[in-house]
Amino acid sequence: MLKGDKNKDGTYEKQPVIVQGITGKFGSVHTKLMLEYGTNIVAGVTPGKGGQKFEGVPIYETVKESVSATGAKISIVFVPAKFFLDAAKEAFEAGIKLLVAIPEHVPVRDAMQAIEIAKQNDAIMVGPNTPGIIIPNLIKIGIMPASPFAEGNIAVLSKSGTLLYEISNSLTTSGFGQIFTLGIGGDPINGTRMIDAFDMIKDESELDGIVIVGEIGGEAEETLAQHIIDLEFKKPIVAYIAGRKAPREKRMGHAGAIIMGNYGSAESKIAMFSKANIPVAKRPTEVPILLAGKIRKK
């Protein structure tokens, strides 16, 4: 859905994207940066500002109006957490098929409800609390800086935002550009789970390898490792897990980064990756080294 039709010169058609909360403090900054990157932002939504323009982008009162005017199927949402569920509902009901949900601190119950609505409307949500998605040199729907990323053949799937930048940067400087990177978000409930993100990219023919950036909390990494074992997926995969030394039963910054009993511990994730023959880096800068090793062995 992110790549449009292929043009004669081999480039891809740019998919139209709308921004919910385009005039907000955060939304406005990132709209500018996404436009600079070349993302085809065709409309914004801010109630009360319909008819105005922001950076040349027309603003509408509702998502429905912006969708009928532009035909966009992708939206990125910047609204305070309290209003997120309403914004998500509005988007899905207006025909948005991919919603990138940036807000942090969305209550779990609201996120679960938004996912239900997405399912009913045959749509996908990425986030909440996601840095977004970037396909280097093609499209950026998110808040990530552009500098760490370069075009290539490695996919990076991450719970954390800054670690996604850090590790992609490390990969880029080692000559491993990216084909697709996605932050699933640091919350307990993710619209797109690790396993879903993996399924989005696994069959891409140009894919040379995958980097999984996990962290303590939940069992997304374990589930994905089992999925990889079940599929007998053969392309090189390397993982990194943050929070090996974190104390138990404390939330470490992300709402989802908490070990409860043994549920969510780094040990459990590392053991499961090891079962799937996926090496786990101890430092972010070790990721490209392990990946190079895996790719060479192939």
Binding site: L33, K82, P107, V108, R109, M112, Q113, I115, E116, P131, M144, P145, S147, P148, S158, K159, S160, G161, T162, L163, L164, Y165, E166, G186, D187, P188, I189, N190, R193, I195, V213, E215, I216, G217, G218, E219, A220, Y240, A242, G243, R244, K245, A246, P247, R248, E249, K250, R251, M252, G253, H254, A255, A257, M260, G261, N262, K282, R283, P284, T285
Partner: protein, 370 residues
Amino acid sequence: MRLLEYQAKELFKEYNINIPDSISSTDIEKGRKDAKKIGYPFVIKAQVPVGGRGKAGGIQKCHNEDEFELNYPQVLNMSIKGEKTRAILLEKMSEYEKEIYLSLFLNRSKRCYTIIASAEGGVEIESVKNQIIREVGLGEVSKKIAMEVAKEIGFDGATSTHFVDILQKLSKLTIEKEAELTEINPLVVLKDGSLLALDGKIMTDDNSNFRHDELLKYREQTELEAKAEKSGFSLVELEGNIAVVGNGAGLVMSTFDMLSDNGGKPACFLDVGGGATEESVYEALTLISKMKKVKAILVNLYGGIVKTTIVASAFIKAYDNNLIDLPVYARLMGAEADKSKIMLKDTKTKMFDSVEQAINGVVMEVTKTG
């Protein structure tokens, strides 16, 4: 937030889930009064936000005054897995026939609530055998499902009816309080076939705090943690002497791991949020300046959009205002790193190209100064 046992039981009581007679206290004077009200024999239970307190000696039986006088101060002053006892719960001893396990739990992979029950309770969930598992969407437990679970545990007659009632009340509590976990372990069967919640654990969703004023009294936050939250940071205070600061939870955790791997002891985990500005870094330094145990600061910022010179200005301002006098070992990734290095040349802040170098530096520094 993670509620202590007595707090979980207050919520159980509010939802008419039977609990034993119990009273909480934080000093022995009050404890003595509670002892008279409850009457011997009773148990005293350490109120700590971690599991495994039974094995650690945090639960003691008292048959008489002598045992009470001996056990109370001992349990009150103990630490279990690094957590100090917050309060003592004095609880009537119950005679029961059987212990079972019951919880409603947010299954993050399946994105639904899950009932976990077992006829073999009283041990930690990881060791609970023959788990009965039912997925229940957003947490609503129908009578039909509750009856199925009761049957699988082996309950019939009045006990079954009582169990169905408790499970549905627990479901109501989970939904209304927006809990990620509500656990009764053990839930015990008394001689007359009725059920009693002997221990409880509740974990609520912090992101829903804004619509749960009634739970805020259970919130345990140090003064600094509260201040950090106001600034939009997340702070976890720890026992070590090196403050760990960064932007983004994942990056700070990663820095924290690497510091620990190299023998450093973190004094705190401080995430200033995805972006970093001069104000946010200055604010972070203000918080750290109030932590007496801190000997040095380790900073790991992935600038990205932000220029590192802005961050460097925050350090300079902090030294100029005598806010801090601590050595800072910093790795600032982002634009204008060279310029920042020049700006910080004559200060106690040392800039490094990699976080590994910064960590080596800070561990050396703390080792030198003891």
